[in-house]
């Protein structure tokens, strides 16, 4: 018991090894469940889509586990299902991730299978054809969702059509029709290379053994490093922009209100992070939640999010409101931002948000999946293996003035881009 309690003080202390081929293996032994979580993150997200075709990375995520050079899709399905393992393949702008949890007794076999899927997907023509139907259905569902329509339109306005963030991750029906096995193979060959992969292994397996198993599965893979993505500069909006997308068959209207923000490497990151927490996260949606949900009863959800990444991701405010409340909700967001920009946060708000963000770490790191995701973030942004121990100090060092300055830089409503999608056809100011 003493040892377990001492753990948070000395930190997570994960192990990190770089295989000769450049693949990074992150390991952390935990003994809370007889299971192991595997998370392979590949720098091959939708930002890596070829300039001429949107949605290739997304299509890869749907077919990568549907057959390899030595296994059919059915064989892979049997090997995973027969062990109770569900492999989730997810995509962000930056990363293509394959994640699963298996029982300890299946660890070696599942690592080998994961390696086969990552290294040698065959993209069989028949599988590509049947997954195309799924991709097109997802695109059509997106087009019927006010939430997705609002966010896609906001991203397009914030980033334009040249910047990868302005393009649609899932592409369009037209691009889905054009993507074939050869395109998918080309994307895989270009971007899925050992030097772009980090594999996190967290669970009831000793670190040395985890590394041995990972080395045996991935060590023989060779390919030259590939170039990363260069993100074009973003022209910040000097003036407010609005757009309304009427979807009159729907019940509720979605608001997406945002700005381009900063990269993760920006020295102001922690000030921005606290500002975002105060504005639209703390407790039930921060200041925005207090105003729009709690005081005015206008929305079931309202929150803000900050995606500080390799590129300056968006700071986005989202709310779902009755169409008769659209103008009032947007005006309330404007008012909260105006106040935060003019007066900054209170000392109490800064203290509370710091306490919350620092205090939530043990919860974040309670489960194997939580630890694996944390380790991948640490690796992706080069934060260092002692990051969990350093975070409290980094946050404590931020002052009220720092947060106020972040608000002045980031959330001036006169420079906001506002999109409304849903059963609303009024005009916004």
């Amino acid at each position: 018991m003493t040892l377990l309690h001492a753990a948070p003080l000395r930190g997570l202390s994960p192990a990190r090894e770089v295989l000769p081929n450049g693949l990074v293996v992150l390991t952390k032994t935990t003994a809370v469940t007889p299971a192991v979580t595997l998370n392979a993150s590949i720098r091959a997200g939708s930002a890596f889509d070829p300039p001429s075709i949107d949605g290739v990375a997304h299509f890869v995520s749907k077919v990568i586990d549907r057959g390899t050079d030595t296994r059919s899709a059915d064989q892979i399905a049997e090997e995973l299902d027969g062990r109770g393992v569900s492999l989730a393949v997810t995509l962000t702008r930056q990363l293509l991730s394959l994640t699963c949890t298996c029982l300890v007794e299946d660890f070696d076999v599942v690592v080998a299978l994961l390696s086969d899927i990552v290294r040698m997907p065959a993209f069989p023509v028949e599988e590509v054809r049947s997954r195309r139907g799924e991709v097109i259905t997802l695109i059509k569902q997106d087009e019927d969702s006010p939430a997705v329509v609002a966010v896609d339109a906001l991203m397009a306005m914030l980033y334009g059509q040249v910047h990868p963030y302005g393009r649609r991750s899932r592409g369009t029906v037209e691009t889905a029709e054009r993507i074939d096995s050869a395109v998918l193979k080309g994307f895989h060959a270009d971007h899925v290379r050992p030097s772009n992969v980090s594999l996190a292994i967290v669970g009831d397996v000793e670190s040395g053994r985890a590394l041995d198993v990972a080395s045996a599965a991935f060590g023989g893979w060779t390919a030259a490093p590939s170039p990363g993505v260069t993100f074009p500069a973003i022209a910040a909006s000097p003036a407010r922009r609005t757009r309304v997308v009427p979807m009159m068959n729907k019940s509720q209207t979605d608001i997406a209100y945002g700005f381009t923000a900063i990269t993760r490497a920006d020295p102001a990151y922690y000030a921005y992070s606290l500002m975002n927490n105060i504005l639209g996260q703390y407790s039930l949606g921060g200041r925005l939640g207090d105003s729009i949900r709690e005081r005015q009863g206008m929305a079931y959800y309202v929150f803000s999010s900050l995606d500080a990444n390799v590129a300056p991701g968006p700071l986005m405010i989202r709310a779902g409101v009755n169409p008769s409340n659209v103008e009032r909700a947007v005006a309330s967001i404007d008012a909260e931002l105006t106040s935060l920009v003019a007066d900054g946060p209170t000392e109490q708000e800064v203290t509370e948000s710091k306490q919350y963000l620092i205090g939530s770490l043990p919860r974040t790191l309670e489960t194997n999946t939580g630890i694996a995701a944390f380790l991948q973030t640490v690796e992706f942004f080069g934060l260092g293996l002692d990051y969990d121990v350093r975070v409290p100090g980094l946050l404590r060092a931020i002052t009220r003035d720092d947060v106020h300055e972040a608000a002045r830089r980031a959330v001036d409503p006169s420079e906001a881009t506002v999109v409304v999608a849903g059963p609303y056809d009024g005009s916004l100011s």
């Binding site: 003994a31 949890t101 799924e134 087009e143 939530s360 309670e366």
Partner: protein, 445 residues
């Protein structure tokens, strides 16, 4: 055995006590992280609501975050957050529950909040009105999703008499007309210690925690929840159908069959049957949906998704106090009509009714379910949820024995429940049949 697995499978490490006022307390020490979780469960859900008051349980849940005698409205937030904690609540057909998870030093504050919630919430009229529109917004947000809309219509069609038929969020007309006194009356009737279970799991000391529980809850008076109007859903005599024709882009199919309650011996063969048809989900309403099931080799996945008819399928069998429905859902691939999808799905349902499952399928389903039970118990929050959930709908002791109950299921058991439960006359079929949107051309392409 690893620590959390021990905790989840070993009833002997749970301390159970019933206070003089009837509050049942379950405490389990788990020292894997410096955290503690508290769940307060009430035996009240949307099945306890009559006409005109649908949605009252869920609305009451919302009101119980809006201040109490000793927690002024503006002090609600921050109590748990200062410990880095998370709090939430949910309402469903059988239950209403509230939870906090935070570092262990927050335990006293968590118990304080739950004691206030049980005995002393305010229900200020202005707060009730403000929350009315929040909940209507929640309802309308759900209506934006055709899948959710169809699920609501399907359930309402499958049940004729039982109060499981109305949605937990309530019907809009009731949400528009319910009064503050309706809410407060429902709160006072059901939020009494003798109708509740308090669960505490984590890095705590059992004896000291029990002392704290008595300190916070011991003086709350018991109450009479009165007679609960109950009925048994009459046997369905023929297949029912519902079709929603509405603007949209995508067709959805749902097929519901009346299913056994958790205490029915048939529940476990049904769990195995669902694993064979759509992949094993586990039985944690709070955690299971976060990880998709292993389903690529499942029968309906092979028959509907691998053939290109559907872009996704799902099976829903949830432990409930009274017989609910087992729902198979499928999203039609673009260009596939919903009747074609139904034909293929029903063919698989009829096949399993005729032929049952193979020993290999039984073995695989059991392995999947065993793995899911391990995976869904990866945190103190999830373990505590299961204790409280099962105590509310049956007995918490059913949960540790779940693995053994699943293990005892035979091929014949599954064949029998498939033949009986998946009969056409026990079936309700729902379609969302999209009609093209009139403003389609104005959308971003």
């Amino acid at each position: 055995m690893a620590t959390l697995e021990q905790a989840a499978q070993s009833g002997s490490t749970v301390r159970e006590e019933v206070l003089d006022n009837g509050l049942r307390v379950l405490i389990q020490e788990v020292h894997t992280a410096p955290l503690a979780t508290v769940w307060a469960w009430y035996r009240v859900g949307s099945k306890d609501e009559g006409p005109g008051l649908t949605g009252v349980s869920h609305w009451v849940e919302h009101m119980n975050f809006k201040g109490s005698t000793n927690i002024p409205r503006d002090k609600v937030k921050g109590i748990i957050e200062q410990y880095g904690g998370y709090w939430n609540g949910y309402t469903w057909i059988d239950q209403t529950t509230y939870t906090e998870t935070a570092t262990r030093d927050a335990l006293d504050r968590m118990l304080f909040i739950e004691a206030e919630r049980m005995g002393a919430c305010l229900y200020e009229p202005a707060e009730c009105e403000s929350e009315r529109t929040v909940i209507i917004s929640e309802l309308q947000g759900g209506e934006n999703d055709p899948d959710q809309l169809l699920d609501q219509e399907l359930t309402a069609t499958a049940f004729r008499a039982h109060t499981y038929r109305h949605p937990t969020i309530g019907w809009l007309a009731d949400l528009q007309t319910m009064t503050r006194d309706d809410l407060y009356g429902h709160y006072r009737r059901f939020y009494v210690p003798n109708n509740a279970t308090l669960v505490i799991v984590g890095d705590v000391d059992t004896t000291a925690t029990m002392r704290d529980v008595v300190k916070h809850f011991g003086k709350i008076q018991p109450g009479d929840v009165g007679r609960r109007a109950r009925t048994k859903e009459p046997q369905q005599l023929g297949q029912r159908r519902v079709t929603i024709s509405k603007e949209g882009t995508t067709a959805y199919l749902k097929i519901a069959h009346h299913a056994p309650a958790v205490a029915d011996a048939d529940f476990f063969p049904m769990l195995v049957l669902d694993a064979v048809m759509t992949g094993a989900k586990g039985v944690n309403l709070w955690a299971s949906f976060r990880t998709p099931p292993p389903q690529r080799s499942a029968r309906l996945y092979q028959a509907l998704v691998n053939t290109g008819l559907a872009s996704g399928i799902n099976g829903g069998l949830v432990p409930t106090q009274e017989p609910f429905v087992y729902t198979i859902s499928a999203t039609a691939t673009d260009g596939i009509s919903v009747d074609r999808l139904e034909e293929a799905a029903v063919a698989e349902v009829e096949r399993v009714r005729r032929e049952g499952i193979t020993p290999q399928e039984l073995r695989k389903a059991k392995i999947q379910l065993r793995a899911r039970l391990v995976f869904e118990n990866d945190s103190i929050t999830n373990i505590a949820h299961q204790l409280g959930y099962f105590e509310t709908i049956a007995s918490w002791r059913d949960y540790p024995s779940m693995a053994a109950r699943i293990e005892s299921v035979t091929v014949n058991d599954v064949a029998r429940v498939a033949a009986e439960r998946l009969r056409s006359a026990n079936r309700t079929v729902g379609w969302f049949d999209p009609v093209p949107s009139v403003d389609e051309n104005s959308r971003p392409q």
